[in-house]
């Protein structure tokens, strides 16, 4: 057998000088540069490309474009395996590897094709009906079975090794589709100087011009195409984007597109992404996406060899492939006759033309006689014959007389549907056009116009005229004045009359409406009988129009059949609206750079590298990576590390990076007044050089955040927020200032990034600080008492801020230096503290110490707790208004049985506790109505040598000493505990003031 037996000796747009070898189902073939996988397979005589979804019927190519429902393959292998790839859209490359789908053990012999014989069991709604009972069987038996039998390709089982990108583009005019209409639009707009982007999903620009034998201005259309492309390429503000699908239209001129940068090579070249997801901001756009040809529903219309007539022309004219040796054309309109001419032109035998219309135009009659084709007027194709490929058909004429014809290709034409999907992405409803018997764009989204076939104006002349006119309008609306319009190019004559038929009622055999989902005319009838008559119900009941092709070749047939069943007109039956994406988009193209370690930005503190050198284990807290603990080789396990850090701090001195706390600089003559309004406590009384703990509420009365705020000057404060809420609090303050009280003179900016801040905690902390604070600053207990906050200097003149505040309950400070010195500060402290056994501690040790002291953090400030719940009600000032004041007083929020903060410890000191447990009374059932509160924080206290916890318990403070159970039904634990004060350690706070 010769290589590429069905490749025509000349013609077409493939590069015969460049032969590419590829593999399909393990077998090697050759094709040419310029081929698609589909055209290359066809050239090699491979017509069988897949098995159908439900019945496992043999399937071949229906189309040559994005609408392909049948020829879906798994492309590439291993980690790059890509299921459900349309062979018609795959650009052939050297060593391409593809596998057919949905067949076992092989494409030619598929065990499950017996599904076709068991057909009646698999009619519409069969999932709902058959597998309902017993319910327990669904998960274990039915679903795995169905999943193996029905379905599409397999996703890759490994992480995608390729890189993806996002990108943003701006233009005056976006042109979607580079066929005759789109190219005319881009050219006209481009000549005005406007910034133009023209996208086409194909790798070759030209649209239908590539597939048709047409003339423009008296010359081959290819000449016009070449001239136009050359001029577009010469315009500096025109960007031409082949291999780019515009898949969605969004508000205010935003378009989503995916550029297949490296899909046409086996592996992306170095530093190139596989795909690039574009967001295009366009002032105006012209949709010139063309049209999709419609099939006809008849028995056996799914056999490999039954193909759309326009697709046959594409294979012949563009790819120089003869899809069959003996052809029959089945058409309901003039456009099918072009296939007769083009097939004859390349020497194929056209056996017959079956035209459902009784009147045949004289020029078609003479064409038929010229090529020796029999003409069946007023006739239909009733059935097909063949196993894995078409062998013949049965024609039925108006009188009912049947004629059997042999053929290996049946080209079907039933008119065209405008590719109007994007016009409908913002709820635009397509409207029915009686003349062309198709839906056309209805009310258009702002800024979008539609040219040529996409608008239902199917002739080449109309495409060229529309393109030139709308390109001009778009540029002018975008602000680019234009010279006088030039007349659009002229074209050869084109007949485009049509009288579509939607289905041929046959005697037997399955007639498919939706080839991808194996939905037949019988399924639509059944849906109608069972009351699923609305288009939306029809879709969901039969699966018509679902999956990867979204019904591009089936929606209208389905609608027409339903109209027939219900005796309504098509336009009264409903329309299909489309949502993005127009064609499938890989998740990678949407994620772009943002996956794995780049999933979202990570924030690192100025001391991060130092912590890493110390062997820290890091924890994600919000966007930040923070040191969780610093294991040493001598530590037995995590707990012994944390215990060591806690004991070293309480026994001597420890340091912990707290740079992640939000820091907000507040200045202005009303800064103190502003703080009074956002915090629950008093601020005007705070002396300069002092810090104070503050709590702020949401307006609904629940606690929002806490932190210390220091007064650096009469009109200058520094607020700190929790790490997690830093952004939220800043936004809240800006709301309060700009929206609520714009007349207050307060000016705020985040200075979180400027400072590296460290907690120096423990009885020896002052001595350590003395080693690095410049001698002129007195930090003795008298000169620098608890809650002092001042600007100082360290290391011989480096500006710094020192705060005597404590989260650990120890004598402690927070020291801030400009971030460049953060790492140096840690080294300096370690050196100064060496004699005192200074120990870096992480978040876990910090958490142990704050639980020992009953200090609250995010676990307690969880958005459901009030100041009263936290036991801090007396902090609320009664002398002023502040955010949340009134709502915090609501009856339900002040009831005594609200869960209120308590401490608790296990009765059996050997037991551990678990966060998230609920409090249930002794000998009460573990039921919701017995729930008395919940556990928010637990830790092992190395000082007390048992576990301790904080939680919220109904009427908690009154129940100190009571025993209750902490029940964790998720982790199956239950511990009897004693309720106690939330302060476990140093109740009097003497260490703090040491």
């Amino acid at each position: 057998m010769s290589k590429q037996p069905l490749r025509l000796p000349n013609g077409g747009l493939v590069d015969r000088a460049r032969t590419l070898s590829f593999r399909f189902d393990g077998k090697s073939y050759d094709g040419h540069a310029g081929d698609t996988l589909a055209s290359a397979l066809l050239a090699n005589g491979v017509g069988l490309m897949g098995r159908s979804f439900k019945y496992h019927r043999p399937r071949g190519l229906l189309s040559a474009g994005p609408e392909e429902p049948n020829a879906l393959v798994e492309l590439r292998a291993g980690a790059r395996r890509e299921p459900n790839t349309r062979a018609t859209m795959v650009e052939l490359f050297q060593n391409l590897e593809a596998t057919s789908q949905n067949r076992w053990p092989s494409l030619r012999f598929d065990v499950l094709s017996v599904n076709g014989l068991a057909g009646p069991a698999l009619v519409a709604g069969f999932y709902y009906k058959t597998f309902m009972w017993p319910a327990a069987f669904w998960e274990k038996l039915y679903e795995p079975l169905i999943r193996r039998a029905a379905g599409l390709g397999r996703a890759a089982e490994f992480e995608d090794p390729d890189h993806y990108e996002k990108a943003f583009a701006f233009c005056d005019v976006l042109v979607i589709g580079a066929g005759p209409a789109g190219l005319s639009a881009a050219l006209t707009a481009g000549r005005s100087g406007a910034r133009v982007i023209i996208c086409d999903e194909d790798f070759q620009l030209g649209g239908r011009l590539l597939a048709e034998r047409r003339e423009i201005d008296g010359r081959a259309a290819a000449d016009w195409l070449a001239t136009t492309l050359a001029e577009l390429a010469s315009l500096s503000e025109v960007r031409i984007m082949p291999r780019t699908s515009v898949y969605g239209l969004y508000d205010h001129g935003i378009y989503g597109a995916v550029e297949r940068v490296s899909d046409h090579v086996a592996v992306p070249p170095p530093h190139q992404p596989r795909q690039r997801g574009w967001r295009i901001y366009a002032k105006r756009a012209v949709l010139a996406a063309g049209a999709l040809e419609r099939p006809i529903v008849f028995a056996g219309n799914d056999l490999p060899g039954v193909m759309l007539a326009g697709a046959v022309r594409a294979y012949v004219n563009r790819f120089a492939v003869l899809p069959g040796r003996k052809a029959v054309i089945f058409t309901s309109g003039d456009s099918g006759w072009a296939t007769v001419r083009d097939l004859a032109e390349v020497g194929a035998h056209v056996a017959a033309v079956v035209d459902s219309r009784s009147e045949i135009k004289p020029e078609f009659k003479s064409l038929a006689s010229r090529v020796g084709a029999r003409v069946f007027a007023g006739s239909v194709v009733e059935a097909t014959r063949g196993g894995r490929a078409l062998r013949g058909i049965t024609v039925r004429d108006a009188s009912g007389k049947r004629t059997a014809l042999a053929c290996d290709i049946l080209a079907v034409s039933n008119g065209w549907n405008p590719t109007l999907h994007l016009t409908s992405h913002q709820n635009g409803k397509p409207v029915w056009d009686e003349e062309i018997q198709a839906f056309v764009p209805g009310v258009l989204p702002p800024g979008l116009s539609v040219a040529g076939s996409a608008a239902g104006r199917f002739t080449l002349a109309e495409a060229l005229q529309d393109g030139a006119r709308l390109g001009r309008e778009a540029a002018s609306e975008a602000g680019f004045a234009m010279a006088a319009a030039q007349p659009a190019p002229t074209t050869d004559a084109e007949a485009s009359e049509l009288k579509p038929i939607w289905r041929v009622k046959g005697r037997k055999g399955k007639a498919f409406v939706d080839l991808q989902n194996d939905v037949t005319d019988k399924d639509v009838e059944l849906a109608a009988r069972e009351g699923f008559r609305s288009v939306e119900h029809l879709k969901r009941y039969t699966t018509l129009g679902m999956a990867t092709d979204q019904g591009k070749t089936s929606n209208l047939s389905g609608l027409a059949l339903m109209a027939e069943q219900t005796g309504k007109a098509i336009c009264d039956t409903g329309t299909t609206t489309f949502r993005p994406p127009y064609t499938p988009v890989a998740i990678g193209a949407l994620a772009g750079h943002h996956r794995g370690k780049d999933f979202r930005p990570v924030r690192l503190t100025p001391t991060h590298d130092w912590s890493r050198e110390q062997g820290a284990v890091f924890l994600e807290t919000g966007q930040w990576l923070r040191a969780q603990y610093y294991p040493k080789f001598t530590d037995k396990d995590w707990l012994s590390t944390v215990n060591r850090e806690v004991l070293a701090t309480r026994g001597g001195v420890g340091i912990c990076d707290v740079s992640t706390l939000g820091k907000i600089d507040l200045q202005g003559t009303d800064a103190a007044e502003f703080l009074e309004r956002v915090y629950i406590n008093a601020w005007k009384t705070l002396p300069i050089g002092k810090a104070r703990y503050g709590l702020m509420l949401r307006e609904d009365g629940f606690v929002m955040d806490d932190g210390t705020t220091s007064r650096l000057g009469e009109n200058h404060f520094l607020m700190t927020t929790t790490t997690i809420n830093a952004t939220k609090v800043m936004q809240h303050l800006e709301f309060c200032h700009q929206v609520l009280w714009p007349h207050l003179d307060v000016r705020m900016v985040s200075v979180s990034e400027q400072w590296a801040q460290v907690a120096v905690a423990g009885p020896r902390s002052r001595e350590v600080l003395r080693g690095i604070v410049d001698a002129k600053h007195d930090i003795s207990n008298e000169a620098f008492p608890y809650l002092a906050a001042r600007e100082i200097s360290v290391g011989g003149g480096i500006p710094a801020r020192l705060f005597r505040i404590s989260f650990s309950g120890e004598l402690a400070y927070e020291l801030a230096v400009p971030a460049d010195y953060g790492q140096a500060m840690m080294r300096a402290l370690m050196a100064a503290g060496q004699a005192f056994g200074i120990t870096p501690y992480g978040l876990d040790a910090m958490s142990v110490m704050r639980i020992e002291k009953g200090h609250v953090i995010g676990s307690e400030l969880n958005g459901q707790t009030t100041v009263r719940d936290l036991g801090l009600a007396k902090m609320m000032s009664s002398k002023k208004d502040f955010i949340g004041r009134l709502m915090a007083k609501r009856e339900a929020l002040v009831q005594s049985d609200r869960p209120t903060l308590v401490g608790f410890k296990p009765i059996d000191k050997g037991k551990s506790l678990s966060g998230g447990a609920h409090f249930v009374g002794i000998r009460r059932a573990n039921k919701l109505e017995n729930d008395e509160g919940y556990v928010t924080s637990v830790a092992y206290s190395p000082n007390l040598q048992h576990w301790i916890g904080l939680g919220f318990l109904k009427n908690g403070p009154a129940r100190i000493g009571e025993r209750i159970r902490a029940v964790d039904l998720v982790r199956n634990s239950e511990v009897e505990v004693e309720i106690c004060s939330p302060v476990f350690f140093d109740h009097e706070g003497t260490r703090l003031h040491g």
Partner: protein, 206 residues
Amino acid sequence: MDKQETSIWRPRRPWAGFAEAGQIGESREPGITAVTLEGLGFATLIAGTSSEKLERATKRLLGLDLPREPCAALSDTHGLVWSGPDQWLLLARKRTGFSDLLVSLSVDAAVSEQSHGRSALRLSGKRVRDVLAKGSMVDVHQAAFPVGTAALTSFAHIGVQFWRTQDGPDGAAFEILIARSMAGSFWSWLAASAAEFGFCVTIDQA
């Protein structure tokens, strides 16, 4: 105040550990060049009810007008970049004398120093716009973003402030500021985006 370069108190620059001098990606003639800007002085200036006094002060001290729209007013030594209503970023190419300047300006504005809180880069090269297009939701085309234009936006989910400076020998040049803590993530995005064009990295030794 950068004089204490004793053994322990050595400053660590914000790009340290991320940006290294050399070429990333394609090894041909670089399409984009980054220069890390080290040791600059930055501060936020916020005017009160009226910014006229501040304007007089900047004019007197720096010879620069306060930009009233998203623009950067730049001299050889200093710059004022619009940063929001009544708010500006003051930049100094050197930190010498910067704290004295801030003290002088604090009479007429709320001044908050940010010198250590920002990581700064200068990006230029024939393909600089193609790289920015992979992150910028702001149009940086010549027509939309002429020399002197400034913007606050985000690239790859990281907040940025950037402006276009005088063109260099290889076309448009931009200066970009990001939060110091995000330098690593920003660099990861930039390096990945610039690699296909050949990405030359220079570390400013200032």
